[in-house]
Structure formats: structure tokens, C-alpha cells
């Protein structure tokens, strides 16, 4: 059972860390855009 928990946790942690990192990168970049065009486009 601990193997199952470990496997699920490993997958969850990896996805969570990567998601957090990607979203944060996007947010930082959007914030440094000139005012008036605060979108990623």
C-alpha cells in the first residue's frame, strides 16, 4: 500500500511543482508587460 501512496504522491508532486512553476513564470511575464495590455496575447 505504501508503494501505491508513494507512486501517486510522486506523480502528484511532480505535476504540482511543474504547474506552479509554469503558472508563476507566466504571471511574472504578464506583470512586466506595459500597462494597458495585461494579457498573455
Amino acid at each position: 500500500m505504501s508503494y501505491v501512496a508513494g507512486g501517486w504522491a510522486a506523480a502528484g508532486v511532480l505535476v504540482a511543482v511543474y504547474t506552479w512553476r509554469t503558472l508563476r513564470r507566466g504571471r511574472v511575464l504578464v506583470r512586466s508587460l506595459p500597462p494597458g495590455e495585461k494579457t498573455w496575447r
Partner: protein
């Protein structure tokens, strides 16, 4: 007018919400509601993570190769394909690591070893290493067009080598291991099957959600590069007139017009700028 935060919009919100719901459902069914397997026992619950992650990994690498091909084909050449290749390769590597980690844990549980030279495992590890190299190449900077071209070539070759790697690893492992570690594929049925299908949906949603976000990060970075470039051209042009104005001012009034248009003396322009890129 909504002020978007980050790289999100309606599409990613839907995708993100869908991912959360399906992942939660998969966890609920996979961890609690489905029965343990007759052969594998509780370990079977890893089947709701591992195969879906492996598929996502292969889809990511395949998508990267297809996007790279589209970039290399002159008629469809567009920075979009380059960005898609970058995004899908990176997400693919994340799922590749997940595949290796869960596979290793599963192996430890069912065979008692963290690692075995199983053909598919070895192939996945090789692919992971190859695409880590690809990502390292992408990070080396330089001219974006050159980087896009060289990395597209590398990505296509990496994937073209998959058949060779496949034969190499499978011939090799059949040679090395008399005792087959091939699991007698446990017959899954009923709730287990549906949960497994659900896990594919969940991972698929998470995958596309991440790729969309990652793609947009790439768009933003490109944009910063281009805007930085426009500023750089303006600065570069300003160097010429700055050199004229930098000269010791004869009077407080800096006269525009002829003085600016006239060629600057070599002595005057020698000051101020030095040691720039002249290669």
C-alpha cells in the same frame, strides 16, 4: 474588460477545472472505490497513474516531433510550431519522469527491485535522456530562428531513432533475461477498467492544460525578446546622435540641425562607446 492574471483565459479555466474534477474522481475511484486486484493486490492502484502518464509522455514527444516537422517544412514554417514543440517536449519530459518514477515504484512493489533492464523501461529512460538534451539545447540562447531550426532538426532525429532504440532494447533484454518479467497482463474489468479510462481522460486534460499554459509562456518570452529588440534598435540608432551630443558642449545651447547631421569627428565618437560587439 477583465484583467487576466497570468497565462489563463476561458479555455484554460475550463481545462483546469476539468482536470481538477477528473483527477479528483480518478483518485477517489482509484484509491478507494475500486477493489484490489486478485493477482497484484493493492499495487494495481498504480495502473491508474502509470499507463496514462506513459501515454502522455509519448504523446508529448510525438507532438514535439510533429511540430518540429511542421517548422522544418518551409510552407508551414511559423514560430507557433517552434513554441508548440518547446511546450510539448517540456511537458513530455515531466510525464516521462513521472512514468519512470511510478514504474520504478511499481517494479519495487511487484518484483522487489527498483530498476530492471526491461525493454520498455530502458527505452523510456533513453528517451528521457535524449529529450533532456533537447531541452538543454533549447536553453542555450542565441538567435531565435537558428535555435528553432537546429532544435527542430534534433527533435525529429530523436524521434526517428525510437524504432532503432526499440529493437536494440527489446533484442537486448530478451537476451539478458531468461526469466521473463512480462507481467501476465491482469485482466481488468468493470470498475477498474472505467477508472483506468477515467485516468486517461484526467491525464489528457492535465497534459493539454499544461501545454497551453507553457505555450503562452513561450509566446510571452518571444514577445519580450522582440520588444527588447525594437528598443535595442532605437538605442543603437541613438548612439549616432548621442555621440555628436556627447562632445564637449561649446555652449549651453545644444543646437539641433546641422550639428547633428554633420559627421562626428573621430575623436568625438571615440569617447563614450568602446569595447562593443564588433564581430
Amino acid at each position: 474588460m477583465t484583467v487576466h492574471k497570468g497565462t489563463a483565459n476561458q479555455l484554460t479555466r475550463v481545462l483546469g477545472a476539468g482536470s481538477l474534477v477528473t483527477v479528483a474522481l480518478t483518485a477517489l475511484f482509484g484509491l478507494w472505490l475500486t477493489p484490489p486486484d486478485a493477482v497484484q493486490g493493492q499495487l494495481v492502484r498504480l495502473i491508474y497513474v502509470h499507463p496514462a502518464a506513459a501515454t502522455a509522455c509519448y504523446v508529448g514527444f510525438g507532438l514535439c516531433a510533429l511540430a518540429s516537422l511542421a517548422y522544418l517544412w518551409p510552407r508551414t514554417r511559423s514560430r507557433r510550431w517552434d513554441r508548440l514543440a518547446a511546450a510539448s517536449a517540456e511537458v513530455g519530459v515531466v510525464f516521462c519522469v513521472i512514468t519512470l518514477a511510478t514504474g520504478s515504484i511499481w517494479g519495487r512493489g511487484s518484483w522487489g527491485v527498483w530498476w530492471t533492464w526491461d525493454a520498455r523501461l530502458t527505452l523510456t529512460a533513453l528517451l528521457c535522456a535524449v529529450f533532456l538534451g533537447y531541452l538543454a539545447l533549447r536553453r542555450t540562447g542565441g538567435n531565435p530562428e537558428s535555435r528553432a531550426l537546429t532544435s527542430a532538426i534534433v527533435a525529429v532525429v530523436c524521434v526517428a531513432l525510437v524504432p532503432i532504440d526499440h529493437y536494440a532494447t527489446s533484442w537486448w533484454t530478451t537476451l539478458h533475461q531468461g526469466d521473463t518479467l512480462m507481467r501476465a497482463n491482469p485482466l481488468i474489468h468493470g470498475s477498474q477498467l472505467y477508472t483506468m479510462l477515467l485516468s486517461f481522460v484526467a491525464v489528457g486534460l492535465v497534459f493539454s492544460w499544461l501545454v497551453v499554459h507553457r505555450y503562452r509562456v513561450e509566446v510571452l518570452e518571444d514577445r519580450f525578446e522582440e520588444e527588447g529588440f525594437a528598443v535595442a534598435i532605437a538605442e543603437r540608432r541613438a548612439e549616432a546622435s548621442a555621440a555628436v551630443q556627447d562632445r564637449p558642449a561649446e555652449s549651453a545651447v545644444v543646437g539641433p540641425g546641422p550639428a547633428v547631421a554633420a559627421s562626428s569627428s573621430s575623436a568625438g565618437s571615440e569617447m563614450g562607446r568602446d569595447g562593443e560587439v564588433s564581430e
